[in-house]
Each structure stands twice: as structure tokens, then as C-alpha cells.
Symmetry: C2
Subunit: 193 residues, 2 copies
């Protein structure tokens, strides 16, 4: 059931069988269909989602109705509106499924109890968020310092799986570009390589 979740957890912080069992009791499985919302802007996020199977995206919507993808999550990734989850404030992001997906949910209460009762859970979350921070800092650096075509090349080499499974117009949104622009960049790059 939680195979990938624990594989992932153990690779960062090794667990005993007893610890694993204890943690399991805090988890909640959820299946979600393509295009279905896990979280909508304005609602309060009640859980963090680990992706066992499938894929999701988190995005914001601007005044003109444009969608801006802030994060993708494939198998093995974690996704949430962390701010809403931690503070109880309304979410500023929407999260929905790009494919039929299987999730492992950690509810707010479970999260808080584990932080107190399972020291390794705190270590896991620390390591996890640190990795996410570093990855996002890299993304930010490439946005403010590289030309668009290099950013796209970076994306392809860093996350080849995303490039394969996610529709191109969503990758454009993730890069802050219009779909037409990404199409032209691809054309240009195909020519000169």
C-alpha cells in the first residue's frame, strides 16, 4: 500500500519495523481521478500528499484567469499548499490530478502527533523540506539568470520524466511562458542541435 512512501522515507531516515508500523497508523490512502481537485484555492489545506502513483500539479490563478503552475508532483514527490496546511489560512493554490493517481495523505493532526511521538518523522520532514528548498532555489536562480532556451534545456535534463508525461502547455506555464513561445523555442532548439 505505502510501498513507495516507505521506500522514500527509509532512504532518507531508516526505520525499524515497529516505527514503520506506528507511522502507518497515521497515514491515509486516497485515490483521485484525473482532473479532480485535491485542494481548491480558498479552502484550507488539511493534509500533505505523497504521490504513490500518478501525477499532480499545484497552480495559482491570476486576475485574468490565467493559470500558473508552481509545482508538479510525480511518483515519489510530495505536494501541498504548505502555508495553508501549517497556518490554517485559506489556500492560495489549486492542486489537481493530471492522471488518475494514488496518494498517501498525512493529515494535520497526524503530522503534529508524529512530530511529537516519532523523532524520525521530524528528521524526515526536515530533510525533505531542505531538499525541496534547494531545488526551488535552483529553479529561481535559473529564472533570474538564464535565457529561456537554456532554462528549458535545464528542465529537460533535470526532470526528463516531467517533460515526457506532462503536456507541453503546462510546462510552458511552469516556466512562465505562453504555449506558443515554448513551441517556437523547441523548434529553434531542434534546428540547431
Amino acid at each position: 500500500m505505502y510501498d513507495l512512501f516507505f521506500k522514500h522515507f527509509n532512504s532518507k531516515v531508516p526505520l525499524t519495523a515497529a516505527e514503520q508500523e506506528l507511522i502507518t497508523s497515521f497515514l491515509r490512502p486516497k485515490k483521485i481521478r484525473k482532473k479532480q481537485y485535491l485542494l481548491q484555492e480558498g479552502d484550507v489545506s488539511r493534509s500533505i500528499a505523497f504521490v504513490e502513483k500518478g501525477s499532480l500539479r499545484a497552480y495559482s490563478v491570476d486576475d485574468e484567469g490565467g493559470e500558473h503552475i508552481i509545482q508538479f508532483a510525480l511518483e515519489g514527490w510530495t505536494i501541498s499548499d504548505l502555508f495553508s496546511f501549517l497556518t490554517g489560512e485559506p489556500a492560495t493554490y489549486n492542486i489537481d490530478a493530471l492522471e488518475d493517481s494514488e496518494l498517501v495523505l498525512i493529515d494535520k493532526q497526524a503530522h503534529e502527533q508524529m512530530l511529537v511521538q516519532v523523532p524520525k518523522y521530524e528528521t524526515y520532514t526536515r530533510v525533505q523540506i531542505t531538499g525541496a528548498y534547494i531545488a526551488m532555489q535552483r529553479r529561481l536562480t535559473s529564472i533570474i539568470s538564464l535565457p529561456v532556451d537554456e532554462r528549458y534545456a535545464n528542465l529537460l535534463s533535470t526532470y526528463p520524466d516531467i517533460a515526457q508525461r506532462v503536456p507541453q502547455h503546462m510546462i510552458a506555464s511552469y516556466m512562465g511562458l505562453q504555449p506558443e513561445t515554448l513551441s517556437r523555442i523547441r523548434k529553434k532548439m531542434a534546428g540547431k542541435k
Copy 2:
């Protein structure tokens, strides 16, 4: 000596006098003059810096020699090349002082020992990095979804202290703009408000 550091620490995770003393033994003070490097690209980051007084910036340099500021740190902020610090890989960022500054350094060894010996230190780092993650995610969202003038207005209201103490061309760099462009945006905004 470490007044602000512990004020900050206690506000996130309250400490006993004994804990505070123990942690103090792991810290190292450092004064740094304006324009002096705390870290240079290519060197390995050996410590995390908490700013007691003054201000610093972290930035990357592109192929054409252009500087791109990824982070500012004023009093009460923490700054480092986290990836280099954690992995021992060469740093990809430069960090230098914008003003004469006083820092509290946490060396790699101290960091690792405290994670083992002082549970509240792990909690502190987790809370700290989580806050930094959320702040950066907001910045990223505004970059990919808002027009520049709104981004600048956001920056002014979110970090008025930065806008006051940091030269304008560095703020332009932080926003991924040329100094001339930011100058024109300011002019335009001054007119219509």
C-alpha cells in the same frame, strides 16, 4: 553577543538557560566588513551565517559576468549556500557584505553535533527552513504570475526594510531586471499613485 540569534531561536522554539548555554558553545562570532566575501563561488561553504547586525547578499554570476542576486539577509535572517554546506560540493553562489556586519556562524561540525545532541536545534532548523521555503515559493509565484510593477509593489510592502537599505540596482538584480527598467517602473508608479 548572540542576543538577536537567541531572541529569534526562542521565538520559534523556547530554550532553557542550560540549553542556551550548550548551544552557545557551538557558535562562533564573526565580523565582516562591507564588500568582503563570506563565501566565494567554487569554495566549499563551511558554515551557516545568522545576521546579528548589518546586511549581506547571495548572488550568482552568469557567463557574461552579470550578477544575479538570489537572496538578501538583514538582521535576524540566515544566509548560506545550503547545498554546498550540506554536500561539501563547491558553492555556486557568492555571499558578501553590503554593510559592515556582525554574524553568528554555525560551522558544519557544530551543526551536525547539535542535530544529534540538541533536539530543539533540529526543530529550530526545520521551522526555519520551512519558513524560508514558503517565502521563496511566494516569490516564485509572483515572478511567474504577476506583472513587474506589481512585483515591485509586493516587494516594497513585504520587505520595506530591504527597499530602504539596499541600493536600487541590487533590487533590480533581485527582481531579474536591468537597473534602467526598475528606474522607469518607479517613475511610472510615482506618477499614477
